[in-house]
Point group: C3
Chain length 477, copies 3
């Protein structure tokens, strides 16, 4: 009996130790000694697409309080309307589509047909549908969309190729008053239908350093995401929508087996903005007329690949575009920003740190070597980062990037609407800001060498491989 | 001895498990599967009134980081001056009184007698007292008062009936830099005197789902609230106030047995604003003269039952008044807002969610059925909410209300100074914002039925029972 | 074997209990029953100075989310460039020096020689060095410097006496997105070199009430702080700085044995602002020209001992100077402020509480009796606070100060850029704000005594000892 009691205790204890380990992580969640390049650890298949999830419990996400997913929507697929408890930014990696964002109190400005014809359901059966709805926006490759916490949104793939959209959630954002977990509330469908069938991916990545926590129920993403209409009594919905019971039951979608991305039966008829960028922007400008402060008139997307956004160009090394609160005013409310970077083959980005934001990197083309350094001066990441992989560089951690032979391109998301970077090397950098005698004494070098440290690198931010004597040596590292 | 060691371990372990359970709740404190209608779980009786407490450890309060209490002050009762570490909003449910809020650095603008006569204690013994003090405000039924964190305040019941005031505390507010527990610091009296005698109410509600936590000392409200003067040496107080030792001891109130609400011996002589609302408002306006930005000139109360505040009226269904940062500017600093709602018998409020705030509901008249739905599409609350009961609807959780045969009226407090609601049904709603083809495909209905979902409910926010085909069916649910 | 298992369990358990105790502290971290006057608990010696650390795990620091250290830099000593993840304020207690703060994107406005001569390393070998760098600032006794989170900074002692600088870090500040631990990232040197040799001070203070936590690894300050260049491959640095491998290795400082404060070989040649305060201020003013909003033109230091900053003077009692967001605009961004106080022998500061900030006190001269009271009316601190000691007064906790026979002088740091204090006694105080009848009834005194409580103390904030009948009595307490 003693043994038994002990076993019982031990069992409890292990269960316990697991949960406790998790707790400590919370308290000291940025005591990071090891970061890994992450790929999706799980996915949920639906009728017309799949959503892939990066493991939210990974320490780098926990430290930054962010989450990351990727939607792959087939042509004709519709990601059902839903909202989340965090502000989010998305990036359209591939394909094209239409996105609707529902903003409370904003007018339904998109109308079909002539304005005189008011809707009359009894007359128009079978005819082309008269409709009005809130504005929708085209999504094209390179578009960054920004959506406030709690605002419902949907995406429809109206192209001929898979639409790939990555999404960044800032769960630590002030706008989220729930606990720091990303939660999705669906307005339609039956997301559980598919998610109960989901399986771990065969190629699922086992993260080194990630400990299985015995007492912890591994929660699957969207396992328990549901349609909010499902939680209301049908009778309430009958009353609220003034429809018959059968239609009200459709709102709840209990018999819906399509999952969270559904196949549209015929092409969606949506009143939509013009496809060409010029037209769209002209229309956009036209709508700003003195009341631009309201959220209804703010632009919710901006193409980060638009050449006008390029902030740094080095024809030998690459280029960087930033979308901050200045260029994309909705970001002021979301306290987020984004950047797009490109390094040509073997080019290097200055070693640097970010003063006021975490920085999530997602590689869209090629690959690069990235090194990340913590406050102990330890390399916590020193690896290739390949297309489709993610790392989070926590606030203040130092990093450096060097493109592979094929070059590299990435999108990065920052937890500040005006993320500030300090370079360590180059024409605008910390080393240049220091008096030469401080450099000489700090590094125990001669004034002459101190001057070399300050002035030898005459490029800014992005350095061409030819600028370096050391080129080639690195390859052997 | 082995057994003994085991028992000891087991005992420790249980103690442990209790505290741990609590910890996990903290980490995942909005993983809510069940919400209950709450009534006070405890109360503290004082000489001239009682304060009732809602259990702060209940999960819905923990998730939202808010607390809630109700003062019942007898005629002639004075709630002693105190301050708390959170901003608060109160609502006068019944009766009338006078409230003083002490704002550091604001002038003592209320003076008795002519201004020439300056106070001279040696001369005026026995005469009518000359006095000056900071402005005080009348409290009438329907008044919402807003008090910054740390500002001392007191309430006096100068009416003939019990004065009932409910108070909402936002412990997660940025203004509170202490941990997320509501703390009250008294400036007078001996609150412990009574609270040591307090007992659990006979009708104390045992919340289903609330686990007794073995290792946790149940902390009683105000058990250990005390008079801050009690912590200073009397000699310090003698010096600071330049009074004799006997008077200084009175500040500490150690022999005071009256508790935190005391009976005033004769009617309070207070210089006070005019009683009629018109006069009061005229005076208020008069005082705003170009320096309204200072907190000293901000209004600290606003009557939410004032018809001018009504935002939505449906003569068949009810009405809603909001007090946000626009109508009640002090709320901008407090990052809180309030709303007053009324539903006529059997009327329904649109299903909806709040984008950016938690929402605490307190019913003041009648009763209503409320349903609350979490992100899993589960109904976490589906019950009658009666006069005197509270529920918290966490941010983003969906809800619907339907008044009983007697109708319902409530006050709600929100953790955002401009709380934004999205309706799911009705003339201004998410469903109207969606293109009809998105509706048809999301819910697997025909375009015709999609149009019905969008347009059949032509009322806004509040729906009359007659508008529904389903009326009557609901009663049998 | 049973015994063994038990022992094992017990061992685990103790380890466990330790970590758990720490966790609970986190949840209820401001449930303070005892505060102690703190002196440094640890220090790290370097070649040309020492840094002393106050124990960050002490409950008063945990509650406030702040940390505190003191640098003692020898003449000719250079505190190596570093940045931290929190905003900080420092106070120069003794000596003089030069401080550089590196602000990203700000111009290198300090240039040596004529502007026409551009740097050419090949020509100028051995000549006086041409250089340009960002502005630097003189540090003199009484200077408060404010540095944003993540901004690199260094200090050089160019005087003849030890330079003593105390530094306050606000780890709970919004600007820190990492967990609530203060982290220092060095840009040079090998801080570990010395810190591995550091030992606990012989006179180390054992804090009563501080429990040794068996399972917790006591982390030593800077034990694991390191040079961020050390985490990059040398080959990367060769490329990035375009220097030879030997120089790049110097950046990493692996063979550097000097620690974090190094001895400068010859006097530093730095282009610096004029030494006299008048000249410096004139220059400062000259630079403000319509673009003052950018952080580049904001002043980063202000002398709090400058007589123009004195806010309260009582020639018999003492004086108080505040540096808030108004007088020192950088504080608006940092959400911090500072105050300097002086009490003449035996004078008293009004009992008071701070509405919206924690308050850290550091005594620079003399000593004073301080009492601190929590919401339970308990004295949590009642002791002499001597030169070099620290206490934290948590938000809303009441306190009183009385200088010893030698008088007292202190600097205090607040976690709000406009910290608001409410006095309990004196000409501007809570007691004066209350109607006399509220005072009489609250404290059960006659109206006459109530008037005495309100009006007997006619001084403001600081009270001369002679103003009190009770003087002398206190000494016997």
């Amino acid at each position: 009996m003693t043994i038994k009691a002990n076993s019982l205790l031990l069992a409890f204890f292990l269960l316990f130790a697991g949960t406790l380990a998790r707790q400590q992580q919370q308290l000291n969640q940025c005591q990071i000694n090891r970061i890994n390049a992450l790929e999706p650890y799980d996915s949920i298949q639906a009728e017309a697409g799949v959503t892939e999830f990066w493991e939210p419990d990974n320490q780098q996400f926990q430290c930054a309080g962010v989450e990351f997913i990727r939607h792959r929507i087939q042509p004709g697929g519709l990601l059902l309307p839903s909202y989340v408890n965090t502000p989010l930014m998305s990036f359209t990696e591939q394909g094209r589509g239409i996105q609707g964002v529902v903003l409370p109190g904003c007018p339904e400005t998109y109308e079909s047909g002539s304005k005189q014809q008011f809707f009359d359901p009894s007359k128009r059966r079978g005819q082309r549908v008269q409709d009005r709805h809130q504005k929708v926006q085209n999504l094209n490759q390179g578009d960054v969309a920004a959506i406030p916490a709690g605002a419902a949104h949907w995406i429809y793939n109206d192209g001929n190729t898979e639409l790939v959209v990555v999404v960044f959630f800032d769960a630590q954002n002030n706008a989220n008053q729930l606990d720091a977990n990303h939660r999705r509330f669906f307005l339609a469908g039956n997301p559980q239908a598919q998610s109960q069938q989901h399986q771990e991916q065969p190629g699922r990545q086992q993260q080194p350093g990630r400990q299985q926590q015995p007492g912890r129920q591994q929660q699957q993403p969207y396992d328990n995401a549901g349609n909010i209409f499902n939680g209301f009594d049908v009778e309430f919905l009958v009353e609220a929508f003034n429809v018959d019971r059968e239609t009200a039951e459709k709102l709840q979608g209990q018999r819906d087996q399509r999952g969270h991305i559904v196949r549209v039966q015929q092409e969606l008829q949506i009143i939509r903005p013009p496809q060409s960028r010029q037209e769209e922007e002209r229309e956009q400008r036209g709508r700003d007329n003195g009341f631009e402060e309201t959220i209804c008139s703010l632009k919710l997307k901006e193409n980060i690949d638009n050449p006008s956004h390029v902030d740094f160009v080095n024809p030998q090394a690459g280029r960087i575009s930033n979308l901050n609160n200045d260029k994309f005013p909705i970001l002021r409310r979301l306290q987020l920003s984004a950047a797009r970077g490109e390094l040509y083959p073997n080019a290097i980005q200055s070693p640097r740190w970010m003063l006021n934001a975490h920085n999530l990197l997602y590689v869209t083309h090629g690959s690069m070597r990235v090194q990340i350094v913590n406050n102990q001066g330890e390399s916590v990441f020193n690896d290739e980062l390949r297309k489709g992989q993610v790392v989070v560089i926590p606030q203040n951690f130092a990093s450096i990037k060097r493109a592979s032979q094929e070059g590299a391109r990435w999108i990065s998301f920052r937890t500040n609407d005006n993320a500030i970077t300090e370079n360590l090397a180059g024409r605008v950098s910390a080393i240049r800001s220091l008096p030469v005698d401080v450099v000489a004494n700090a590094y125990q070098v001669s004034r002459e060498d101190a001057q070399k440290l300050k002035y030898n690198q005459q490029q800014t931010t992005l350095f061409s491989p030819s600028s370096s004597k050391g080129q080639g040596q690195w390859a052997s590292a």
